[in-house]
Amino acid sequence: MNEIWRMIGRRLLLGLLTLFVISVVIFGATELLPGDLARELLGQSATPETLAALREQLGLNDPAPIRYLNWLWGVLHGDFGVSMATKKPIAELVGGRLGNTLFLALYAAALSVPLSLMLGVLAALWRNSVFDRMSNALALTSISFPEFFVAYILILWLAQTGLFPSMVRITASTTFSERIYMGFLPALTLTLVVTAHMMRMTRAAIINLLASPYIEMARLKGMSPLRVVLRHAVPNALAPIINVVALNLAYLITGVVVVEVVFVYPGLGQLMVDAVTNRDIPVVQAIALIFASAYVLLNLVADVLSTITNPRLMHRR
């Protein structure tokens, strides 16, 4: 067990290092964006004097490394700075949106992970059957359409008929069940988009093992096909499955911009799009860093889970 903690510690440190590198890249990338913040903020009313004053006030005249360090120092203290466009603290702006995005991601994950694992196991069990081919074809079809197209189709079928709302309006007073109801279409869209990947990986990981001598042994012990797959193949296929699930969960947090825009869902993705449009650099930086952390954290969790499920790593000789 100690070894697991040591590994988690090591991976956390590596994760922090990764985040540090990412923060440099983010800062560098936003530096390259064309346009002048002060001019953007003042708009038409800018005079050379006011511009100079604002630049001084925002610290834009400092050299880039100093500004980077100031920004990093703030971030490390939980202070992401102030939004240029709304003049509100970014932490406040992002907080609620992050909650919404996580809610939608968890919602979609709760639908898609069990669904794709189940379909993957069944497809492996009945490989080359009609069921296998159909579920593969359907999953591939849904992943091949662009997300907004899937979203509009769902709106056409399920929102035009009045079953579910096509726009999501979340306020402080929205109850959990209302959130579930309103979030159904975006969550379903995301489910259709990520299921194919996880399902096919699950199927492939299991089928890959079915030629192993220990699977033949289980069959020769008279075990039923379902038991052979669930008890003998799945435990050995967990590592690739966990990794593909983690990758898709990360996508659900960071890749949902289009879906959020279609359903007017007040999540981080939409906020980021708005911020880029408004040249609201501090907001863009903050969100990019949050997305990066989500990736790093989910990969860490996937690594730890893969290790825990592998007895060869958990129980040394």
């Binding site: 220990y214 042994m217 289980a218 008279g222 007895p311």
Partner: protein, 538 residues
């Protein structure tokens, strides 16, 4: 008194698919097995032994199908019975012990969980009783720490112990019949004895009938009441073990018996500077020393056989000589001059002088290259041959390994048999015109008759080209046939070394003695005598 018949197979035909075509693997074999009887199935690889053994469970591997004949197990027609009925028999009344227990135990579950699965799922006994039963059988199989060993994962247990645990698992439902599919082939000789004795005892204790599949005649002689010889899916002959050993009727059977007739007399001890001299080498990986103070010499035109169990450091020694693993201490002398420790620091000329032939010719040859390139490349690289000279050289080499150049020069490795592939491995080593060749278990993956051909070829080449061989093997029969000198290794150290005749006649060390006496002999009572002599038998 005539015993009750348990299994009757009549005119069984099994087909395997290759591409779109089906070809017969088993071509109409009959088999009768009585209760409590042990039948030995022997033959070379591709004889259909395993396929036939699995068919006795009503099972055909993916890509195989039972296409004709009948299988009757205790009144149940296994071909006509629905799959659910067959499944109910498997594990419960007919059990299977696979060749590699290490690969056939599920790495994700503890041994005892895998033991209990059969009895619990088949409804033979509840979990608690099965656990207690497992410990009892582990004890009977003479596993160390029977109370505790079941709670380990397969990777935490050694190969010989796993094989015994697998036999215990096969016994878990007290089946009427067990199929043993080469259960000791992957084990060292010293471990093999323990497993053989344990298997034989438990089969006798429970009166279980068994089909014992192996390619090793000496092993089957210890285990079986009757022996059936198979050749390419056909029965050659069948009779009880004693008369089969004493007087085989068919030529093919006699050829199996006579396989190890090849032996060349050892040459007198060589004098002068050895080609390769291993001097006090200590080497290892990480913090572990795999080799400790290893020294021996190899002279021109002599074969030094390095023998020992797996893990004794044989292959590591080869890695040190070739420079793949620089030693921590000691050095390698070549014709009296020290070689740089790492292959990176050696000159091309130094590299050329020492070539290797590998155990698995399948994986040692690039499947995408034709023989012309496989053999031509070292000749081109080391000797700078080009164009017509290279072509001539490749043809000469093919002729040297007894493959017709016109027919084979443009073939791919996949178009060759196992023995032919190994010949290509030899030709590739010869292409560099070395003084010394390291043969790492080169015959272990081959059938005995093919082995003999390879050994004869190596012997002839040694005489013609004045080669020094270092022959790594765990097979003492091979050592007997070709070695001049023997180096016995254990735990990374040289236990004993000397001329073959002396070492075999009068081993000085206990370990050498143990190793030599563990080689199965073609004698019905060999195992009994040996166990009695060692005082292990109850």
């Amino acid at each position: 008194m005539e015993k009750q018949v348990l299994l009757t197979i009549r005119d069984l035909k099994i087909e395997g698919r290759s591409g779109d075509a089906w070809h017969q693997i088993v071509k109409g074999v009959d088999l009768t097995l009585h209760k409590g009887e042990v039948l030995g199935l022997i033959g070379e690889s591709g004889a259909g032994k395993s396929t036939l053994g699995l068919a006795a469970m009503g099972y055909a591997r993916d890509g195989c199908r039972i296409s004709g004949g009948s299988i009757d197990f205790d009144g149940i027609d296994l071909r006509a019975a629905p799959e659910a009925d067959r499944r109910a028999l498997r594990g419960k009344r007919i059990a299977y012990v696979a060749q590699s227990a290490a690969a056939s135990f599920n790495p994700a579950h503890k041994l005892i969980d895998q033991y209990c699965e059969g009895p619990v799922v088949h409804g033979v006994m509840p979990r608690e009783k099965a656990e207690a039963d497992a410990v009892e059988l582990y004890r009977r199989m003479r596993l160390p720490n029977p109370d505790e060993i079941g709670f380990r994962y397969p990777h935490q247990v050694s190969g010989g112990q796993l094989q015994r645990a697998m036999t215990a698992m096969a016994m878990s439902c007290r089946p009427d019949l067990i199929i043993f599919d080469e259960p000791t082939t992957a084990l060292d000789v010293t471990t093999q004895i323990e497993v053989l004795a344990a298997i034989r005892d438990i089969v006798r204790q429970f009166g279980t009938a068994a089909i014992y599949i192996t390619h090793d005649l000496a092993v089957v002689a210890q285990m079986a009441d009757r022996i059936k010889v198979l050749l390419r899916g056909d029965e050659v002959e069948e009779s009880d073990t004693r008369s089969m050993l004493a007087a085989p009727r068919e030529d093919y059977t006699r050829s199996l018996w006579a396989v190890r007739s090849f032996a060349r007399p050892a040459l007198p001890a060589a004098t002068g500077t050895p080609v390769v001299s291993v001097r006090n080498v200590t080497a290892g990986y990480g913090a572990v020393d795999v080799l400790k103070d290893v020294s021996f010499d190899i002279h021109a035109r002599r074969t030094v056989a390095v023998v020992g169990e797996s893990g004794s450091g044989k292959s590591t020694t080869a890695r040190v000589i070739t420079g793949l693993l620089p030693p921590r201490k000691g050095e390698i002398l070549f014709n009296g001059k020290p070689l740089p420790p790492s292959f990176k620091a050696r000159s091309r000329e130094e590299l050329r002088q020492c070539q290797m032939i590998y155990q698995m010719a399948d994986t040692a040859l690039n499947p995408k290259l034709r023989l012309r390139e496989l053999i031509g490349r070292p000749a081109e690289m080391y000797l700078g041959l080009k164009g017509r000279a290279l072509e001539t050289r490749i043809r000469d080499l093919l002729a040297l390994i007894e493959l017709e150049p016109d027919k084979y020069i443009d073939r791919l490795p996949s178009e060759l048999s196992g023995g032919q592939k190994q010949r290509i491995g030899i030709a590739r080593a010869l292409a560099a015109e070395p003084q010394m060749i390291i043969c790492d278990e080169v015959t272990s993956a081959l059938d005995q008759i093919v082995q003999e051909g390879i050994l004869k070829l190596l012997d002839r080449l040694q005489g013609e080209l004045n080669l020094a061989y270092m022959f790594i093997t765990h097979d003492l029969a091979t050592v007997k046939s070709i070695a001049d000198e023997v180096v016995v290794m254990q735990h990374g150290q040289v236990v004993e070394r000397g001329p073959k005749a002396e070492l075999f006649a009068a081993p000085k060390e206990d370990y050498t003695n143990l190793l030599l006496s563990s080689v199965p002999e073609m004698d019905l009572d060999w195992l009994n005598r040996l166990l009695a002599a060692r005082g292990e038998h109850a």
